[in-house]
Structures are given as C-alpha cells and as structure tokens.
C-alpha cells in the first residue's frame, strides 16, 4: 500500500522532470547546432577569399563582374555605430538609472519606469520607420546633405534602442549598493549629488559595465531599424556617409544570392564574424557579472 502510493506520486514527478530536462536540453541543442552550422557554412568562403582579404579588404562588391569580398567597411561601421550609440546612450541611461534608483519620488519613478518598459517593447521595425520618416529628412535639412540616411542617423536610432537595457541593468546595480556606503558618505558631509556620483556609481561599477556590454550586444545585433535609416551603401564609415553594418550586409543581399555561390557563402562568413563578435561580448558580460557577485 505504502509502496503503491509512492509510485503514484513519483510517476508524474519523474515525467515532469523529464520534460524539464528536455526543454533545458533544447536550448543547448539550438546553440550548439547554430554554432556548428555557422562555422561549417561560414568557413568555405573565408578559405576561398583568404582571411586577410576578407577581414581587411576595403571593397565589397559581391555582385560586380569582378567581385570583391572585403568586409572591413562593415566591421568598422558596426564598431563605430556601436561606439557612437554608447557615447550618446550611456550617459543618458546611467543618469536615468540614478534618477530612478536614488532621487525620484516613487510616483515619478513609476512613471519613468513604465516609459522605459514601453521603450523596450517597441519593435525595431517601428524604430526604423520613425527614423526613416522623421529623423532622416531632418538630418538632411540640418546638415545640408544629399540624403539623411547616414551613419549618424543609425547612431541616433541605436542610442535610443539601447536605453532600456542600459537603464534597467544600471538601476538594478545602483539599487544593490549597500545603504551604509551612502549613509557614511552623507554623514561625512558630502551632498547627495556628490554621494551618488562619487560613492554609488563606483560601487555599482561592475553592474554598469554589464549594462554597457548588454547595450553593445543590442546595438551590434540590430538589423531591421538600421537597414531603414543607414542607406546601406558599402562605404568605409563616415558620420555623414551612407553605410552598411555587418547585420544589414547579410540581410540586404541574402534574398538574391544564389544558393552555393561564393556571394552567399561570404554572407554566411559575415554571420560567423558577427556571431564571434557577440560571443566575445557575452563572455565579457559573464566575466563582469562574476566580478559583481564577488563584491
């Protein structure tokens, strides 16, 4: 009798455990599968073009009669675009986080937090659409350009897009700063502003670094919004030039690249480069978060 009841309880329990495990393994299978596929699909073109010519070649003309497959313009554009978005988005994001976690009255904070959450929920194609119809014509007017679809437009859109992740991660980090640190600083005569900037921020340093890395990952991986505002010409980057990012290079040519052609394989290679970039950033994030736990 006793044994039977145990069996009845254990069977569904075991079954559920099996399902949980299967779901957990699914994520692993997908990551491993995608990695393997990208490496297998991305290597042939790199080998055919040559690693140096591929990474450091300044001319991309995949469909020209004498094709050229250099992705330096895309690499530099992705790096510049991401850095630009950070330069603009990070100060705003971190100061918003300070406001939310330290300064704002609860009601104000709740309002701002809702706004930030909504910002995070806006699909990237909507960012692109707004950028394309509002931002691009305005930039064209202001800077007297032939076309406003430039690296600058992409940077501005990306800066807004990374705000939510920067804000939410920095807010969490700033909330985690022990109250004693701040109390001690205030007791020693420092003003609130001095305390927040000199004590709270450095104490939350590793968490804010994590926010930076998360923002970089987001900016690096964005394709849709950028495709609509950056012009997509494979130029070496310049603030007022039409540029193509790693992501948009893949997206804009995939449709017409014949299966099995060097062009299509080279697009896979770009995907591999992008993947390695993001992987590197994730590793960095991992290291930073570990450092935070030790604090």
């Amino acid at each position: 009798m006793e044994g039977k009841r145990d069996w009845r309880r254990e069977l569904p329990e075991r079954g559920m455990h099996g399902i949980f495990l299967a779901c957990g393994l699914a994520a692993v299978v997908f990551v491993v599968g995608i990695t393997l596929y990208l490496v297998l699909a991305g290597l042939p073109a790199v080998l055919e073009i040559g690693l140096w010519d591929f990474l450091a070649g300044a001319r991309w003309a995949s469909t020209a009669r004498e094709p050229s497959y250099g992705i330096l313009p895309f690499l530099l554009t992705s790096v510049y675009g991401t850095l630009g978005a950070l330069v603009l988005g990070l100060p705003v994001g971190v100061l918003t986080a300070l406001c939310l976690s330290k300064m704002a009255a609860p009601r104000v904070a709740a309002g701002v937090r809702t706004a930030v959450e909504l910002l995070a929920g806006i699909p990237s194609v909507v960012y692109g659409l707004v950028g394309m119809t509002l931002l691009v014509p305005v930039l064209r007017e202001w800077f007297d350009l032939p076309s406003g679809a430039t690296l600058l437009a992409a940077i501005l859109v990306l800066a807004v897009m990374i705000l939510p992740s920067v804000i939410s991660v920095s807010t969490t980090a700033l909330r985690g700063v022990p109250a004693e640190y701040e109390a001690a600083s205030l007791a020693l005569g420092a003003t609130e502003t001095e305390t927040w900037l000199r004590v709270s921020l450095p104490a939350a340093g590793s968490g804010i670094a994590a926010a930076v890395v998360l923002g970089v990952g987001r900016a690096m991986g964005e394709a849709m919004a950028i495709m609509m505002v950056a012009g997509n010409v494979a130029n070496l980057p310049g603030l007022f030039k039409s540029v193509r990012f790693l992501t948009t290079a893949i997206a804009s040519e995939m449709a017409y690249a014949p299966v099995g052609s060097l062009q299509r394989n080279a697009l896979y290679s770009i995907a591999l480069v992008l993947f390695l970039f993001i992987l590197l950033i994730d590793l960095l994030l991992h290291v930073l978060l570990k450092g935070k736990r030790r604090l």
């Binding site: 069977l11 075991r14 079954g15 455990h17 099996g18 399902i19 495990l21 299967a22 003309a61 995949s62 469909t63 020209a64 009669r65 004498e66 394309m132 119809t133 691009v136 014509p137 064209r140 007297d144 350009l145 032939p146 076309s147 406003g148 679809a149 495709m227 609509m228 012009g231 997509n232 010409v233 039409s242 193509r244 997206a251 804009s252 040519e253 449709a255 017409y256 690249a257 014949p258 062009q263």
Partner: protein, 268 residues
Amino acid sequence: MKGVCVAAMLLCLTACGTRPEADEQTARVMTGGSTSMELLMNVLAESYARDTGGAVVTYEPTGSGAGVDGAASGTVDIGLSSRYLKEEEKGRVVETVVALDGLAIIVHGENPVTGLTLEELTAVARGEITCWSELGGPEEALAFIGREGGSGTRTAFEEAVDSVDRCFYHQELTSTGAVVAAVASNPGAVGYASLPSLNEEVRGVAVDGVDCTEETVRSGAYPIQRPFLFLTPRGGEMGEEAAAFFEYATSGEQKGLYTLAGVVAAFG
C-alpha cells in the same frame, strides 16, 4: 519513464513533420533561368495551378545564361532570360518575348525637373552630377537612390545607362517600395522603380523626351527597359504540358498577372 516520455514526444514531432509527398502523377512543367523573373513565374505558376486544378510549374533561379543552356539541352521545358539572345545563342533556342520590364526614373513630387537625357542619367548614376542646378533644377543636393547588389532591377538600370558596377549610390534599398518611399521623403532624390510601382507620392521623369508608360515601354520607345523571354529549343517539340502552360502564359487573359508582377505584357 524518461525514455517513454521522450519517445512519445519524438513520435509527436514526427507526426507533425510528415508531409504528403507531391503526387508524381501531376503534370510538371520545368522552367529555369533569369532570377529577375522569379516574381512573374511565381504569379503565373500559382494562377496556372489554380486554373488547371493542381498542375505544377517549377522554377529554378539559375540566371539567364543557364536559362539558355537549360532550354537548349532540354534540362528545362522552358528557359527564362531577362536579356535578348546573343547571336551565337540564336541557333540553339527560339525566343518569345512575354513581357517588358520598364524602369521609371522617379523624383520627388516638388522637383521641377521633368525630363533627363540618357547621358545626364548616366552622369547622375556615376556620381558626376551632385546638384540639381546642373540639370536645370533648383540648388538642391542630388541623392541617387537604387537597389541592392544582385537585384535584377539594379542590373537592368545599370545596363541601360551603361554604368554596370560604376554607379555611385546614396542609398541601396532592398525593395522597390522602399526606393519609392525614400524618394517621396527626399526633395533632392532621384531613383528607379519598375513602372507599375509608381504612385502619387513620386513623379516619373521623361527620358530622352519619352515618358515611361505602358505604351512607350511596349512600343520600345522608352529606353530603360529589358525583355522577359521564354526560350524553347530550336527544332524540338515542347512536351504537351509545357505547351499548355506556354499557351496559358501568353494568352491575352493573363495580362493582369503581368501587371501584378510589375511588368508590361508584351502580347495582346
């Protein structure tokens, strides 16, 4: 227990994944060639399948050159090409022009320039003209907007203005709609788009004095256009199914499908 669970899940997945194999009995017409004709062939194939109750027309986007070879060697029933045959190819296959793909040159609605010559257009495409004042327009910076590499529309335009791989773009967009939208929002923009995608937001300009309309494209007066060809082997008979599809695709009743695919039907 774990094993049973996993097995049950796998069974579930396989059950969902099974698809009825295509019926080998159904008539099959194989076409292949020009990548630019993909939209047209999809539209034709879909409509043909509906009207005949499931006849299958396959399409391989292999390029116009491969379309000629395929038709000549019989690996496809109907070869597809988006350029006229070269002299040496004419002995091997017979060409039938089914459609003409006219590219309108579009500018912003407020742009006062109403016409360009082919030479001016070439200079614009190559980035040699940077201001509309050089073309009799206002002091407005000129932005040349086109399609991404690999697009058949881009190839057609660059060939028409003799600037293949020499064009200087301000924006390379991935669809005709995006080009139209970009031109509509930029007073200094000039771009190209297939004729049926024109709308009231942008204005087409005449090239060498000829407006881009269905009539001028069909008569050949409008210079920026290319043909879509069906190719059949010279001296060989088409199979029954292929001939039926050929007839269907070139009958006057299907003109609407060509418009839907963004081209001008060359017949009727």
